[in-house]
């Protein structure tokens, strides 16, 4: 509750600080416009054409429908990755042996290109929801896992000693010592995983499914419809930007307020 009040209280100032970000986005739009004028609409649709296409999709309802399908897949994969990655990462961090053993495995997972997983997933799950969900999960999992692992391994020994000397009960140690520390590593990892899952789900859909934003992109490509392609890309990017800057970033600022250096 206190958290919510604090976040809402700082929202106006935060939104006001967004003008700078908006300026750079508008510059990007200008560059897009210039490029499309140079190469012609067939290669790269103009921003206004793309927005018009986006408006049409919104009107016939396909925009919301496809976004919903894609969002559901991305979030299910992400939720699985957050859950499994956080829990296993914490567990591995507690034990020295487990963290040493898991390190190379995670490096292998991180180094494996998502497109390779996608090929495997298509073999295993076919054209079902399972393919994008699995690909998202397997790509986001190592990022979250490493965050949790590092959080647990880097806990300050002096604070641990202090907790021991003060005879803090286990519950207090967990909630006042371990979790806040681990969370400061986990949270950035979660955000990175979110960005990743959103990108990967579109890629997976493009190649493997009949619906969702990725599939719609595949159709527009087949029709050589540059405006529709750009419209879908805009929808995906705007949604991600909104989620990150309107929801996650204020939350992150609030829970990590103690990190800001004062005095």
């Amino acid at each position: 509750m206190r958290l919510l009040r604090s976040v809402l209280g700082e929202l106006p100032a935060y939104l006001w600080s967004g003008w700078g970000a908006l300026c750079s986005l508008l510059l990007l739009l200008a560059a897009w416009q210039l490029a499309s004028e140079h190469y012609g609409s067939l290669v790269l649709a103009q921003p206004l054409e793309a927005f018009a296409a986006l408006g049409r999709f919104a009107e016939d309802g396909s925009l919301w429908q496809e976004l919903l399908v894609t969002g559901r897949r991305a979030l299910s994969g992400l939720a699985l990755a957050l859950l499994a990655g956080s829990l296993l990462g914490l567990a591995a961090g507690v034990s020295m042996t487990a963290s040493m053993m898991s390190r190379p495995l995670v490096t292998v997972l991180m180094g494996m290109p998502p497109i390779a997983w996608l090929v495997l997933a298509m073999l295993w799950f076919g054209a079902s929801d399972g393919t994008p969900v699995f690909t998202v999960f397997v790509a986001a999992f190592p990022v979250v896992f490493v965050g949790a692992l590092q959080g647990t391994r880097t806990l300050d020994n002096q604070l641990r000693e202090m907790a021991l000397a003060m005879r803090l009960p286990a519950r207090l140690k967990l909630f006042d010592l371990y979790l806040p520390h681990v969370f400061s590593y986990l949270f950035p990892a979660w955000i990175a995983a979110l960005g990743m899952s959103w990108k990967i789900v579109v890629m997976a859909e493009l190649l493997a499914t009949q619906d969702g934003v990725g599939a719609a992109l595949a159709v527009s490509r087949a029709h050589l419809d540059s405006a529709a392609s750009m419209a879908w890309i805009c929808a995906v990017v705007v949604l991600l930007l909104g989620l990150e800057y309107l929801f996650l970033e204020p939350l992150k600022r609030e829970v990590e307020r103690w990190r800001e250096s004062g005095a």
Binding site: Q158, A165, M166, L177, W258, G262
Partner: protein, 281 residues
Amino acid sequence: MNNPSSAARLRVRGLGHEFVRTRVLDDIHFELAAGELCALVGPSGCGKTTLLHLCNGLLDVQDGVIDNDFSSQASMFQQPRLLPWQSTLDNIALGLKAAGVARRERQQRARALALRLGLAASDMDKFPRQLSGGMQSRVALARALLLQPQLLLLDEPFSALDIGLKAELYQLLLNEQAERGMAVLMITHDLMEAVRLCDSILLMAAEPGRIVARYQLALPALQRDDAWVYQHTAELLQQPAVRASFGLPEHPARPPADGLAGGLQVQALPSSPGLPRAGRC
């Protein structure tokens, strides 16, 4: 109201400790009664912190016995060791939270003590990073004192502070100690700090860490003034055992016998029946 359990004491007998076959503590004997302030002085690396960790229960006792009848104890370390994600008030109240005291009450008590220890009302909601080093030390002291411990274990808590802050925190500590009658065991390598604060001084020597001499200071700490502290620190520095332990040159400016003449209250005592190595120094 003072000395609720004056019979309580900390007894350490024949304590020894090894880290990977290196003997860091050997045959330590001492006793600390309620209301007594005792300093462990010695050169760096002589096992003072290990001894304190053993008393604190942070290490398991290998040889010997530690009898601790004090019903409660608190510690303060060289660094403040505050939880960076909690406010000043929550940091101070941490011990009470562990004891299950309700939030409103523990915050009230923490606030009252913090104000007494010289923290400002505006500091209460700040995070440790926003406080100066001196203020962080106050918070750490408040966190330890809020528990009203019968035994307070201090590990060079004032060594990083400037002399003005030190003097202020000494006074705060002595006032609290006199009011509650708690026992204090403190580590320091600053002889003047030991002479200013403590009733007895245990001198340790290194390799292996052992107690080589014990000095008593009769005048109550609150009645000592600067001149008294300087004089007695100087006298302590003349003691052959002190010079040997800290590796100072053997011949002091004044012969030690002079320093101890004239009915002064610094006296070297054997701290335990054994102490075979006292003569070595």
